[in-house]
Every structure is written in C-alpha cells, then in structure tokens.
C-alpha cells in the first residue's frame, strides 16, 4: 500500500511540472465549479470575491507558501478540475477552519476542501485508502501534538524550560514505533 501512495504522490508531482504557462479555459472544465457547489461542503464556493483572507489566516500557508486557498478557489472557479483534483495541495489542509471563520462571504473553504477530497476519491484521482492514510496522519499528528504539549506541561510543573524542537525527537520516535508495531500487528 505504501508503495502505491508514493507512486501517486510522484505522479502528482510529475504532472504538476508539466503545467503550461497559459491556462486555456477552452480546455478546462467550466462545469467544475457547479460540480463542487453540488458536493456537500462546496455549496458556497462561487460566492468567493477573492479577498484573500483565507490565505492570510491559513496556518498551513504560513509553513508552505505554495498552499494558497484563494488560488485553489480561483482554480476551481476557472474549471481547472484536473489540476485541482490531482494536486497534492488539496490534502494539505488541516481543517482548522480559520478560513471559514474569517471569510466575509461565508465560503467555508475548509468544507470545500473536504468536498474536493471526496470528488478526488470518487473520480479515481486517489485510491480510497489514501484518505484513510491522511486521516491516520491527522490522528497521529494530534497524538504527537498532545504528547508534546503534555511534556511541556509536565516540565512546567517541574519548573524546567523546554524547547519545542528538542521535543520532536523525544516524542516522534515512540509514536513512530507504536505506528510500526500497529502496522506489524495488522500483518
């Protein structure tokens, strides 16, 4: 399964590099925005007036500027279906819903992301197990985060200072071991 995921990701990256400089809307799927709007979560996609507050407030785009919600919306509205659904960007959203909170037009971008993921799975852009994996990643991420926070709290009561960076190796390793163990268990 892991190999399949890697293959998919590589495929997405390769295709991404093949992008043409000019977007010809005649070649794009102009019905795509309506499709997204019909998918649960995507209802308000068309209301976007591109103010950029989603991008401004997005914690993912803080880390990776490539991840730009406004740009993704624009691509949807222009009908760039294939490019959107096969893009690795749609999997990056952490579903924190900050964008939805600040959006003046009530677009609910985080929900749009879920809609896109559903379509992507349904239409075979990714294997269903891919979403499962993502969901697992989300779970482990939360686990890691929780452990790190607990570790800080613990050290706080002992009045010890702690650096977030150092915690990573401390916390991530056991989690990875646990994940591996679980994986083995399944086999």
């Amino acid at each position: 399964m892991t190999k399949w995921v890697v293959r998919q990701i590589l495929k997405i990256i390769e295709e991404g590099e093949e992008l043409e400089a000019i977007i010809k809307l005649s070649k794009e799927n102009q019905r795509f925005k309506y499709e997204v709007a019909e998918e649960p979560g995507g209802e308000n996609i068309k209301a976007c007036f591109a103010c950029g507050v989603c991008t401004g407030s997005c914690p993912i785009s803080d880390i990776d500027e490539e991840y730009n919600p406004r740009k993704i919306i624009r691509m949807i509205l222009l009908g760039m279906k294939k490019e959107v659904l096969s893009s690795n960007l749609i999997w990056m959203c952490a579903l924190c819903h900050k964008c939805s909170f600040y959006c003046p037009q009530d677009v609910k971008f985080a929900d749009v992301m879920s809609a896109l993921r559903n379509i992507a799975v349904r239409e075979g852009y990714v294997h269903p197990s891919f979403t499962e994996t993502i969901e697992k990643i989300d779970k482990y991420t939360q686990e890691v985060r929780l452990k790190m926070i607990k570790a800080i709290l613990d050290k706080k009561t002992k009045k010890l200072s702690v650096e977030a960076e150092k915690l990573i190796s401390e916390i991530v390793k056991p989690v990875t071991k646990k994940v591996r163990a679980k994986g083995r268990g399944k086999k």
Binding site: L25, Y34, V53, T55, Y102
Partner: protein, 1492 residues
C-alpha cells in the same frame, strides 16, 4: 398659484433629523413658503458632518462649510428647530399628519442661555463625550461643539436613587461630587438646602439613601452618611479655627418679610421649620416645654452617639439666623394656642414629637425598678442622676432599647439583657448599633416576651417571661410572634427598662379643636402639613408617630414652604400646593427605571470607619464612631458611580449669571400638525467591538475612522495633533482596514459606499498634519472611488502623498507586547504572506440604519429593506411606502454628502409638490417699522460692550473700555452688559436707540459670523438700516487669546473698539433692492433628469419650457432596458413622456438649440433656434435648469467597430431589448470594465458600469443559464445595496477576474479569445469568447462647452458641468438662478439622476416661490467716471456679475448677481470699484484708528 383653502392640507413640514440632510430640506422648504419643524435628537443640529475634520475630495474644512448653514437654518424665521427632541408617533395621512414630539428636559432655558460656558467650568461631573467619540470626557452640562446651534448648553441627567430615597431629598450625589473636588464648603451649603442639621444626621440617620445606592449592585453602597458627617465635621472644625459660626450665608434672603411664626417644639421638625422660615426673613419664635432645645435629638439619644457640642453647634447656627427661643413653656399649660395668635403670630407649627412611653400592659409594671426607656434617656440627657441596677433587662427591639442598654452598661450595670419577642431579622434597630451593643457586652434574648413583673416590697426582683414562636406575617409584614404555652420561665433581675415604643401627647391640641387620628397623631393635609385649624401646621413625630429625624427635618422644611405660601395669602391647601409647585421644585419622580450601570465597573472597597475601642467605652459617654478622615472621604467619594449623571450639585446655578439653569425642567410632549414629513435621521456607525479579532476597545491604538476623524480635527480631543491614544506619540506608520462592518455576510453584506474615499482623505490629512511624517497604508478589497473627481483624488493619494494601497482583507490585528504597536499579517495577491507593524490602525467602519429611526419607521408602518434601511424604488428615490412621507440621506442607503444633499432637496421638492396648494399659509412674516433716513445726520453712535459673563469680563476690564468708548468722538452713549446678546439686552439696545436718537450702533463682543445678524435685526426693529451696525470681536480675538495678560487685553479691547467706532462714523445705510421675477423655468435637456425637474415644477404650478435638441424626449434612457433593481425603464419613460406632454404648464420645444442667454436670476432671456427655422425665438424664465445629459463613450480599442462580436453594454441592452431579434445569446461572454474610463484621457470613473455589467450579466444568465460570463475588472464598484447583485452574480457562476491597468486584456483577432493575466494564479488565462461586451461609461457632450459659455457657468476639466460646491451645493451654480442635474453633472444611475433632478427643481422653487428677488446690500459699485474700461473686473468676477457697456466703454455691476465679495474692488487699477460697506475710507479709518 391656487392658494385655495378647500383642501385639508397643512402648509408645514416636519423634518426628522438635523444633520446636513435635514438642514438642507428645512432650508429649501422654508424658502419655498412652508413652515418647517426640524426635530433633532441631540442637543445641536449638524449631525455627523459637524464631527468631520475635512471633506473629500476637496479637503474643505467640514465645519467651515457647515457652520454658515447651521446659522442660516437656526435663525430662519420659518424653521422651528427642536433639538434634544424625538418624534414619538405619527398619525394621519398625506397633507395632514399629526406628530407627537417629545422635547426632552434640557434643564436650560434656551431663551436665556448665551452659551458663555461658565457652567461647564464649575460642573464636577465628567462623562464621555459622544461628539468626540468617547476619546475624551465632557461635563454633565455641555455643548457638543463650539459652533453648535442652538448655542446653548444641555444637562444630561438621570434619576438619582439616593436623592429619591432621602426623605429630605438631600442632593446626595451633588455633595459627593463636590467632595471629590474638595469643595467642602459648597457641599455643606448644598446639603443645607434640604437639611439644616447635617452633622446630627451624619451621626444618627438610618440613611435610607445607602439602601438604594446603586453602588451596592457592584459591591457595597457608598458610605453616604459618613461622607455627610465628614463635610460637616470638617467645616465645623474650620469655622471653629476661624472663630466664626458654622452657618453658611443664606440664599436669597433679601426678601425680608416681617411676619411672625410660632413654632411649638424644638426637635428636628421645629428646628428645620425655623431654619427655612428665618432664611426667608420671617420672624420665628420657638416655644419649648423642656429647659433645653433639641427635642428627641437631645433627650432621646445618648451622647456617645450624638455629642452635645455637635448638637449645640448646629442648633446655635439656626438660632443665629435670628430665631427667638422660649424654653420651659408648655403649650396648654403655660400658654394657649389662642394666645399665640393674639400675640400677632400669623401661623403656628406644631412639632412636639412623641415623648410618651407605651406601656407593657403586664402586672406590676409600675413597681419600683421599672423605668421606661424614654424617661431613662431623658433623665440621663438632662444631667439628672440616673441609677441603674446590677442586672438590667430591657424590653424591646428598637434603637431606644439599644440606646438604653448601652447607656446602662456605661452607667455601671453588670449585666444587661435585651428581650425581644421576635427574631434578629425583625429587629427595627440599626444593625450597626446592635453589633456595637453586643460587642460592648449586651446580651439579646430573642423570641422572649415579658408576662409579669415579680416584686418583693414593690421592688422588682424578677421578670416572668414566655418563649415565643413566629407565625404568619402581620400588618407590618413581619412575622407575628405567638407565645408557646407552658414555656414560661423567670429571669432574676433588679431593673426593667421597657422600650417598646412611644407616642405623641396631643391631648391639648385635641381640646383646642385640632383633628387627631387614632394613634393620637395630629391629622394633617399630606401635601401642605396644614392641620384642620386655619394657620396651624404640624410635622415630625407629632404627625408621623415615632419616626426618624430626617423625616422630621423634611416635614419641617415642607411646613416652612407651606407657611410662607399661607402667609402670602394662599389660605386653602390646594392653593398652597399650587404655590409651592410653581415657586419651588417639582417633586422627584419615584420611578426606578434607572439607566444601565457602566459595564466592568472596577470594585472598590467601602472605607472602614474608625470606632472607639470597646475597652475605652466603659463608664464614659465618649463618641463611639470617629468618622472618616479626609483621605478616606476622598476615596469613598470616588466610589460614587454618578449614576444620575448630573449630580444636582447646583454649582451651575451659582455660576450662571444669565439665570438660565432650570433643574426642575421636565420632558414635554407636544403635538404638531404638518402636511408632510421628511425623514433625515442619518446613520449609525458600525460598532466593531463584536469583531474581536480586530481588538477594538481591547487595544488602545485601534480606533474607528470616525474616532480618527476627531483625532485629526483641530477641535478634537488632541487639538488636531495626530497622536495615538495609548501614549500620545505621533504615529509614524498607520494602517486603514477597509470594509469593517461592510461587504461581510456576518455583519452587513452591503457596501457602505463612502469608506474608501474617506480613508484616502484621512490618510492624506494625517500626512498633511504631520508634514509627511506619517506613512499610511490602506488595506482594501476593491477601491470604490466612484464619485465625481474621486479617482483623481485616489491617484493623488498614491502619487503625491505616497499612500500605500494593499489589496488584501485583514483578518486580525495583534498588539505587540507592551509597545502599543500593532501587527498585521496578510496575504498579497500572489499569495505571499507579509507581516507589518503599525503604530495606529484605523478601522473604516460602515453605516447602519439608525436604531431610533428604524423603530419610528416601523411604528409608522414604512417599508424597510432587509437591512432595515427605508425601502425606496429606483424611480422614486426619496419616496417611502407611505404617501406624504419622504426620506433622504443615509437612511435609505449609505451615501456621501452630495447625494445626501441632493436627496434632501429632492425630498423637499416632493413635499413642496404635494403641498403647493397651501404654500405660504403657515409661514411667519416679520414686519419692520419704516426705516429712519439718517443721510446727512451727524453720527450718533451707541456702543454696547459685552462682559460675556466672565469670558470677556474675567480678563478685560470692560467698564474701563466702556468709559474709554464714551470719550471717543460721536459716541453719544456707551454701556456694558453682562451678555449683550441676551433677549433683555436687545430690548435695551432698542430703547437706547430711541432715547438717545442713535443712528449707528457698535457692539463689542464675540464673532460677527454668529452674532452680527442678531444685532442687525435688533437695530432694524428700532428703525435703523441694518448696515448702520459695526462689530468688534473682543472675545475670540482678545480676551481668549490674552488670558494671561489682562492689562494688555484691556488695551487691545480699547483699540478694537476704537477701530469699530472709527468705521462706524463712516458707515451708511445700504439698500437691498427688490426686483421682479418671471415665475417660469427653462429646462435644457429632455432626458429623464430634465423631464423629472420639469414635471415637478409644473406640478407646483410653475410654467416650464423644456428644450430638447433631439426630435424625441427620453435621452440616453431610451437605450436602457432595466434599472439596477430590474424595473422596466421603457415603460417608465413612456409614462413620464406622457405626463410631460399632457401637462398644461409645460411647453416642449424639440429639435432646438440654444443660441444666446442673457439676464440674471429671476429674469433670464434665452434665445433658441429650432431645426429648419431660420430665426431666433426667445424664452423668459426666472430660472434655468441644465439637464443636458451625456453620451456613451465610443471606444476605439478592443476591436470595437472592427468585429460585430464586440459591442458596448448599451448595445447589448438594445439587442436584448428588441423583441424577436435575431440576436442569440452565445455560449461564452466576456465583459471588459473601465473601457475608456479611469485612464489618462478620461481619468474619471463612470460609476454605473460595474453595476450595468452585473445587471446585464444577470439578465443573460436569466435568459440563458448555460452561458458562461467573464467580467474583467479593475475594481468592482457595486456600491451600496448593489453589492447584493454582485454577490448574486457570483453565485450564478459569473466569473470576475481582475486586471491591472498596465496589463489590460488582449483580444486575439481571429478567435476572439481574450487573454488576461490573473494576479492570483500568476499566470495568463485565455478565455474563449463568442461575444465581448465593453463597459464604456459615459462621456460629456462636446456642446457643453458652448452651453457653458452662453450660461456663463463653468465646466470641470472632464467637460462635466461644475457645481457651486461639490459637497453642499451639488445642483447649484455659483451663478444664481441656474441649476444642474443628471449626467451632464457627472456619471450616475437613473435613481441618482432622478434625485438630482428633483433637487434642481427644489432649488429652483426657492426662487420661483417668491414674489420678489431681494439683492444683497453689500455689493460692488462702479464709478463710471473713474472706470477706465480695462475689463479686469469683468474677467475676475467669480459670479459673472459685471457686464461691460460697449457704448459707454465702462463696466457695470449687475446688482442681482453681485455677492459683494470685493474681488473687483481689490483688482480695479483705477479705484472705480468699491465694495459697499467696505469702502476705502471706511477701512483706512479703522487702520488709522489702530495706529494712532
């Protein structure tokens, strides 16, 4: 005109809201012959415009352009301005409405208040200033801004619960406010207005005030009683130190009355009555049965609670007023009532108290060792030897019981027990007293009652008691004690003190024939305290039964008032009440619907009062409570929440020399009859507190745009210095965040229309104020500078002022720890994230409908839109859903000042149309006496010099200036006045003119711009020509600026007066000419605007000539299918043309060109030629309205004209409009915005094209849902409620893509594909297009130039007609009598064109409704002898008022057009031009006077 009275219509109009819209409507209507009621809820007219620093795009000072309107409106004979008032209800129908208006109590007499401001200086209460957006405080007595009309103060007042709770109505909050300012003497004198025994009450009063104190809702009540004691103790100590009596000088005791009044009893009631009577000069004698004065105060209260020296001092201070005292005189025994009257006393007050103990009614209670509490205390206090037992039992639960118990301990009793038949909860004694008693060792047994006194040798040995339990509540509301049978027990004791109550002894008075009630109290009339006997009054415990001292004091004071009324001849109770109410004060309303408490009031602990240690209290009667220290008192006073706002400290009454303060004022409800109503209530600002991510109110340096406007303003909180609130530093980097509370589904989805341009203005002004130190950034989504010349303003902001514009919506503002600086994170269009630090962030807040007005509209049943603004329709922009009620300004949607003013005039035009039958029926006309001819008379000058309270008088020696004035030549009379502008001084000026035959008047006071018209009117009323007046400003230009140098100020005032007198010697009567006028109008242009104006005027009964250059009426609207709202334009146009064609007052002239225009306001002659006729025809008209329209721009770009598939928006509408046309909507449509607009050639925005594109795109989607539409834009400018259509368009799938001016879309020739660079994707997009629609905007006609030359009116650089003032005179030209409306003024929507056309009609009506044209008195005069014919004046005159006489070769002033600006006089090289009233010799005489 038909002035028939057959209709029920009323020729007056109600205008709701005194902002610029209301002012404009009111002025128009008043000038058109209607009486106007202008109702404004705040204390002054002016609205939000008065708060603004500058106006865009001209950066005019807002107040400078508004203030003259305020004065004009305020002084207009036919406008009744009702400020501090609100409309409660409206009934009736068009032509005849009944309106209920509440005039809120202002507590100031508007006729007396001169606006001098001395009251604010002494007011101790500060509240947030709404005018200054709560950035600073104002006083509880305030005037919102210095230029306010009316120029009067207002007191903001709520209910003061402490004062209501006090039986004597003491001004509690007032004296606390004065304590805060350490004004102890004033505080004491304030208390004494209601209570002459404050030192006593400060010790023994059960202080019901504290029970009501609203501080208790926060933590604990304010220690009011202790504060009162503090003041009196402090002042007593001070006067002891000075060796003077404590009595503060009495108020208004000049009115000496010699009538005698007898007072029986010297307790608190009698003393209080004596005090207030003697204060008024009455001769008072007190008859007292005991050898000492004070009644219960002396004999009923032990000294450890009320020291005798305090009591003596306070009584003494009353006696010092001249009160006679006769002690040891018992009425009924030593003297009879009849005898008292025989001795010449006019009235008697009975205040004999309640000194008779109640009996226990148990066996053996008369035995030895049983001493009633009252007797015990009396003997003790009279200094008799009082013996106590070792084991004392006291029966009762009141203060007397506690007093006797504590006294017994002090006298040596070993064991003191109080028996009380109920529980602690029911005990009537003060809890504090009970607590102290227990501390001292007193035991209290609850639920025990005595049954029998057991004696041995008639001496008490024990008390048989029974235990009780509590049953159901009795009449007093307390639970009734019921004996528990069989629970009897014996208490071994040697003394019993029953203290179960006392009653008055009124047996003698009953004999005398005075009505006595069941409980032996004297019956009185409650309002007057009059007994059943004529001239006999009673109060205190005699009437109430045992009660508190403060109640007795209150009654004593009330009796004094009644007695005065009685002696003055009001014999019956009713007439006494009427007298007291009329002369004295209105009873406080005992309602409890108090205002809201300020949220988050910080907790403050109540000050602990020091007491004598318990150990130090044994065997002495030293005072136990020690009172507050000054430090404590000041801290305690700070705890007062000032919940009543005005504290009624009455300091303003003292300060107001004009006697304008009316603290007894009440709200009044009046009813008005009006024919029509105009709603102009303005808007509310959006409150951004709910958007907590912006940190408004959390971070000090996040302010709203209107707050920033105040910060910028010279009259604002920081006097115009641009500083930030947190640390008063000049901010270097400021940011504006747009669309706060606008274009947001979570707050207000509509666009607030004005914020973009006002943000630009504020950025520019901030830079100007700081010499460019401020770097301003504006964060926006679409920049909506769609108004006339706004885009140029935007470009200037970018280029000249280096304002940074960032297209990004901001989601959050964070404060950087401790610095007050703010951080903003945002994404640029390409997705790059940026963090920037700012010193100050301004939130550009949007508009909301005003809450009060929404409620009123609902009550009246007016249709509101979904955002609660008044619903109007595109073709009826000022009409509400109810006939006869009109709306203007922001209440029908967010809008800028010019549109507001246009609608205001438009609403006036509609109201005038409705009421034209009854025009002139309600107006007032002033009749003046004939003018005295003073020509040739030697000047006889009267000089009136104003103190302006202390404004001038405090710094300038006004009497000295007056004496100086008297020495000047031609000065016949000079005097100084407290306020020269007051109503009585106006009468005096008139009298003096008559008495001394004055023929010139000089007033030395304040600013002529506000006060000159008043004085001019006064002298005119006395028969003098109003120009025989001269004014010197010795306040603004002298006393105010030389406060620190009074001597120099006096010298300067002399000089200023001397200059004014020098000129006055040379001034002459000036004539205001009356000219006839032609009551008809010429309207140029037959489009919607022209026809609208025409029809309005014709309906009002005026003859109208409508000239149209084409063969058909309709103008550009003939090509428009729908309005924004979706209404059918062609149907509307047809009905409009029908109405215009069929109106008998309208003459339509088509295919005609204007060839010449001559004349002036009231009498224009216009020559025109019709097509095919070779001669010139002429129209005479009083006014001309220019509605010449504009045309669609014909593009030469984007392949227009080369490819049929490239069309304009209007062409698209025409295609869609034509029925059964071959046109089929294709699959893909691309619309390109700003074609030919906002570029170098046409730098203006065509305003409506964004909406036009949205409208047409939506129409296409409606017909052909599968068509894909792309709108390529630079900024989407769907302002106001049009934002809804923009959202609808997006939701329908219409795609909006922005492009930069430098990267315009490119159309490929063959395929018609459109290439556009998308900033968001950072890539080029190619859009397949089957049809390209260009939004081309409008272009003015070339012919405008010729027309403007003929009319002598200006065009702007874009060839649109240029109005007189972009903000406040949007349809007038500087040349009087000519007006402009519609597209020839600037691009606008149909709705806006209609409103402007109505406005033009309104402005025209202000001229046509009159019978004569009155010219100005101060105009230019040209001496033909001196004129060299150089024509400089002709070219320089801004009003086109100078013509050149080609035959005589001289210039001539057209008196009807001249505004007296004096430009020609200054420019004329030969000295032929003179500005009358400012002649060369007049000015030079002033200058010489200053120099000599």
């Amino acid at each position: 005109m038909n002035k028939g009275f057959d209709s029920q219509k009323i020729g007056s109009v109600l205008v709701v809201g005194g902002g610029i819209a209301g002012i404009q409507s009111a002025l128009d209507l008043a000038e058109q012959g209607y009486y106007v009621y202008l109702v404004e809820k705040s204390p002054a007219i002016g609205g939000v415009m008065a708060q603004l620093d500058k106006t865009f795009p001209t950066n005019d000072c807002s107040m400078c352009i508004l203030a003259p309107k305020l004065v004009e409106c305020g002084r207009h004979l036919n406008i009744e301005t009702m400020t501090w008032s609100e409309v409660l209800d409206v009934s009736g129908e068009e032509g005849n409405f009944k309106v209920k208006v509440k005039k809120k109590a202002r507590y100031i007499d508007l006729n007396k208040c001169t606006g001098c401001g001395e009251c604010t200086d002494v007011c101790p209460v500060e509240i947030e200033s709404e005018f200054d957006e709560r950035l600073v405080n104002k006083k509880a007595i305030f005037r919102p801004f210095p230029q306010a009309y009316p120029n009067a103060f207002t007191i903001e007042k709520d209910i003061r619960p402490c004062q209501i709770a006090c039986p004597a109505g003491v001004h509690v909050q007032g004296y606390i406010a004065l304590i805060k300012q350490k004004k102890y003497e004033e505080a004491l004198s304030l208390i004494k207005k209601n209570n002459p025994l404050p030192a006593i009450c400060g010790r023994i009063c059960p202080h019901p005030c504290e029970a009501e104190c609203r501080r208790r809702l926060v933590d604990e009540p304010v220690a009011i009683n202790s504060l009162k004691r503090f003041i009196t103790d402090y002042e007593m100590q001070r006067s002891d130190d000075r060796g003077q009596t404590t009595e503060v000088r009495s108020q208004r005791s000049e009115e000496l009355v010699t009538h005698k009044v007898a007072i029986i009893g010297s307790g608190p009631a009698g003393l209080s009555c004596a005090y207030y009577l003697s204060q008024q000069g009455y001769k008072v004698t007190i008859f007292e049965a005991l050898p000492v004065l004070g009644g219960m105060l002396r004999v009923g209260i032990p000294e450890y609670r009320l020291p005798k020296d305090i009591l003596n001092k306070e009584i003494e201070s009353i006696l010092n007023l001249g009160v006679e005292v006769k002690t040891n005189v018992k009425i009924g025994k030593d003297l009879t009532m009849g005898n008292i009257f025989k001795q010449g006393y006019k009235a008697i007050f009975i205040g004999t108290g309640a000194h008779r103990s109640l009996k226990l009614n148990i066996p053996n209670e008369d035995s030895k060792g049983v001493v009633p509490g009252i007797d015990f205390l009396r003997d003790l206090n009279l200094g008799k030897k009082v013996k106590v037992g070792k084991n004392v039992v006291i029966i009762g639960g009141g203060n007397v019981a506690i007093d006797t118990a504590r006294s017994s301990l002090r006298l040596g009793a070993e064991k003191v027990t109080i028996l009380y038949r109920r529980s602690r909860k029911e005990m009537p004694a003060s809890p504090g007293e009970v607590e102290e008693a227990e501390k001292e060792g007193v035991k209290i047994k609850f639920l025990v009652a005595p049954v029998e006194v057991l004696t041995r040798n008639n001496k008490v040995v024990s008390l048989r008691c029974i235990k009780m339990q509590l049953g159901a509540p009795d009449a007093s509301g307390r639970r009734r004690p019921i004996p528990i049978s069989g629970s009897e027990f014996n208490l071994s004791i040697d003394m019993i003190i029953p203290a179960i109550g006392q009653a008055p002894d009124t047996s003698y008075f009953k004999e005398y024939g005075i009505g006595v009630a069941k409980r032996r109290t004297i019956q009185i009339d409650e309002d007057t305290l009059l007994t059943s006997k004529d001239g006999v009054f009673a109060g205190g415990d005699t009437v109430l039964g045992p009660a508190t001292a403060v109640e007795a004091i209150a009654q004593g004071r009330k009796a004094a008032q009644s007695i005065i009324a009685y002696i003055k001849g009001r014999k019956a109770a009713q007439s006494i009440i009427a007298y007291i109410k009329g002369e004295k004060e209105v009873e406080l309303q005992a309602k409890k619907d108090y205002g809201e408490l300020p949220p988050n009031t910080p907790l403050k602990k109540r000050q602990k009062i020091k007491t004598l240690p318990v150990g130090a209290r044994k065997s002495n009667f030293k005072e136990v409570e020690l009172g507050l220290t000054e430090k404590q008192a000041l801290k305690e006073a700070e705890r007062c929440l000032s919940c009543g706002i005005c504290s009624e400290c009455l300091q303003c009454e003292e300060a107001c020399k004009a006697e304008a303060i009316v603290h007894q004022d009440i709200d009044k409800i009046i009813e008005l009859d009006v024919g029509s109503i105009i709603l102009a209530p303005g808007f509310d600002e959006f409150d951004p507190t709910s958007l907590y991510e912006y940190g408004y109110k959390k971070y000090k340096n996040v302010v709203t745009s209107i707050e920033f406007e105040r910060i910028l303003s010279a009259t604002g909180p920081y006097q115009g210095e641009v500083i930030r609130p947190s640390d008063r530093k000049i901010p270097e980097r400021i940011a504006f965040i747009q669309c706060v509370g606008s274009r947001d589904e979570k707050t207000n989805p509509y666009c607030s229309s004005v914020c973009c341009t006002y943000a630009i203005k504020e950025a520019i002004i901030a830079r100007e104020h700081t010499a460019g130190k401020i770097e301003a950034t504006i964060f926006f989504m679409d920049l909506r500078c769609y108004g006339k010349n706004f885009d140029k303003y935007y470009e200037r902001a970018k280029d000249e002022y280096k304002v940074k514009f960032v297209r990004s919506k901001i989601y959050k503002i964070e404060e950087l720890n401790g610095t007050g600086d703010l951080s903003i994170i945002y994404a640029k269009e390409d997705g790059k994230k940026c963090t920037e630090r700012f010193d100050l962030v301004i939130l550009s807040v949007g508009f909301q409908p005003p809450v009060d007005a929404v409620n009123l509209a609902r009550k009246v049943g007016l249709n509101l839109n979904k955002y609660n603004f008044i619903q109007t329709r595109d073709f009826e922009p000022v009409k509400t859903s109810k006939e006869g009620i009109y709306v203007c300004g922001a209440f029908s949607g967010p809008k800028d000042i010019p549109e507001t003013v246009m609608q205001a005039s438009g609403a006036a035009a509609e109201a005038s149309c409705l009421l034209s039958d009854v025009r002139g029926t309600q107006i007032k006309e002033k009749v003046y006496p004939p003018e005295i001819d003073v020509t040739g008379q030697e000047p006889r000058i009267g000089v009136f010099i104003c103190h302006c309270g202390i404004n001038i008088g405090g710094y300038v020696d006004v009497p000295k200036v007056t004496e100086f004035a008297k020495t000047l030549p031609n000065v016949i009379y000079a005097e100084n006045n407290l306020y020269t502008c007051s109503q009585d001084t106006q009468e005096r000026i008139k009298e003096m003119i008559k008495e001394h035959n004055l023929n010139r008047v000089v007033v030395a006071s304040c600013s002529p711009s506000t006060h000159e018209p008043l004085f001019q009117e006064t002298i005119r009323e006395a028969g003098l020509n109003k120009y025989l007046f001269e004014m010197a400003n010795i306040r603004n230009q002298c006393s105010w600026v030389h406060m620190d140098e009074p001597e120099k100020a006096t010298e300067k005032a002399k000089d200023l007066v001397k200059m004014a007198i020098a000129k006055a010697r040379l001034i002459e009567s000036l004539k205001e000419l009356e000219l006839d006028l032609t009551k008809s109008a010429l309207v140029i242009g037959g489009g919607i605007s022209g026809m609208t104006a025409t029809l309005n005027l014709a309906k009002q009964g005026f003859k109208v000539y409508l000239i149209e250059k084409n063969s058909e009426l309709g103008g550009i609207a003939r090509r428009i299918k729908w309005t924004n709202e979706g209404l059918n334009v062609q149907n509307y146009l047809k009905s409009l043309i029908d109405k215009v064609t069929n109106n008998k007052n309208i003459e339509i002239i088509t295919e005609a060109t204007i060839v010449e225009v001559s004349g002036y306001v009231g009498n224009f002659k216009t020559g025109f030629m019709r097509a095919g006729r070779g001669y010139v025809e002429e129209i005479n008209s009083g006014v001309i309205i220019v509605a010449a329209g504009a045309k669609e721009y014909k593009p030469d770009e984007y392949m227009y004209g080369q490819d049929d598939r490239v069309i304009t928006q209007l062409e698209l509408e025409e295609k869609l409009l034509t029925p059964h046309s071959a046109f089929r909507i294709p699959q893909s449509v691309v619309m390109i915005q700003c074609v030919g607009s906002r570029n170098g050639e046409r730098p203006y925005c065509s305003r409506f094209c964004c909406m036009q594109a949205v409208k047409n795109a939506l129409k296409i989607k409606e017909i052909s849902p599968d068509t894909e539409i792309y709108i390529l834009y630079r900024d989407i400018r769907t302002y106001g409620f049009n934002e809804d259509y923009y959202r609808e368009a997006r939701e329908k799938g219409i795609m909006f893509i922005r492009y930069d001016e430098e990267k315009k879309p490119v159309i490929s020739h063959q395929s018609l594909n459109v290439k556009i660079y998308d900033e968001i994707l950072g890539r080029e997009i190619e859009i397949p297009a089957d049809l390209i629609v260009l939004s081309v905007g409008v272009e003015p006609y070339q012919e405008n130039k010729e027309l403007a030359t003929l009319l002598k009116v200006p065009l702007n650089e874009d060839n649109f007609f240029l109005e007189a003032h972009v903000k406040l005179r949007p349809v007038d030209f500087a040349t009087e009598g000519i007006f402009v409306c519609g597209l020839c003024h600037s691009p606008k929507s149909i709705e806006e064109s209609i409103a402007q056309a109505q406005a033009a009609a309104s402005r025209a009506t202000t001229i046509l409704a009159k019978d004569k044209i009155l010219t100005a008195g101060i105009i230019s005069h040209i001496d033909e002898e001196l004129c060299a014919g150089c024509k400089i004046c002709v070219n320089i005159c801004p009003y086109e008022a100078i013509e050149f006489d080609e035959t005589k070769k001289v210039s001539r002033v057209n008196e009807a057009l001249c505004k007296g600006c004096g430009t020609c006089a200054a420019a004329c090289p030969s000295g032929a031009c003179t500005a009358l009233g400012f002649k060369y010799e007049q000015i030079s005489s002033q200058i010489s006077a200053a120099l000599v």
